[in-house]
Amino acid sequence: MTKKKIMVGWREWVSLPELGINRIKAKIDTGAKTSALHAFDVKLKTEGNKRIAVFKIHPHQDDLDTVINCTAEVFDERTVTDSGGHKEKRLVILTPIKICNKTIKCEVTLTDRDTMMFRMLVGRTTLNPYFTVDPQESYLAQPDLNERDV
């Protein structure tokens, strides 16, 4: 606990550079173990002995017109339990995420739950061991990402 950690709020703008997502609003969720991304049209293809996930995302909350096409190698497949207690099998990718000028490789599960208010959830395995969350604050990180440019 003596380590100096980066302070983040419960909502932050983050980026996922390898997926081509410069700016996405994420909920920082200590109640979730793994991070999750709301993806749709998820398809699996095989390249050699690699399994590749091809999917789309709407990076902005109330904008269904902007679509980003993403590709990422499938790292794992896992059964996760959501906050309602439902179990769902999800693909897991390993991709760098930039939060507050810190870039870390993180496991992200892909979910097509359309009811997620936030398109991205950042869970404990991504937060550890670099971040501390202040539930009173929002958008403490990356002022450059808070500006409206995509």
Binding site: D29, G31, P135
Partner: protein, 164 residues
Amino acid sequence: MSNFFSNLMLILFVYFCCAPKSYAEKSIVGWLEAAALKNKPDYLVIAKIDTGADNSSLNAVNQEIYERNGDLWVKFSLTTKSGREITFQNRIIKTALIKMKDGNLQRRNVIEINVCIGTISKKIKVNLVDRSHFKYQMLIGRSFLKGDFLVDSEEKFTVEPDCR
């Protein structure tokens, strides 16, 4: 001049009494902590500290609703951390519609209760839900945490409740 002086006093008063706590003044908790319900040291439950939730909720199976003096009350019991069964009887202050991840709405009874984590006690609204398929009896959301706590999800059980 006296106007200036009283304004200055007011500013100083607001600053010292109501200024938001700085990071150094907030207590750091882990993602799991022991919480004392009604501030009682033997009413301990394990609570998940959830910055992703607005409000707090408590496990309540077999809720019995009854009327007392024109108000609706609820009787429920839960098992503490040490395995003891305790019973609560509380007035229902409202019902809350909770949006579930699957898009369904769930109606939950809300009671008001004192909860103690570390040395901080707050009277909060808690919604009652059957959490028997979850690992932890309680979920603490941002409305409890705001202003007093920081969450380090690398840690757990960092503080002992002490609010007597």
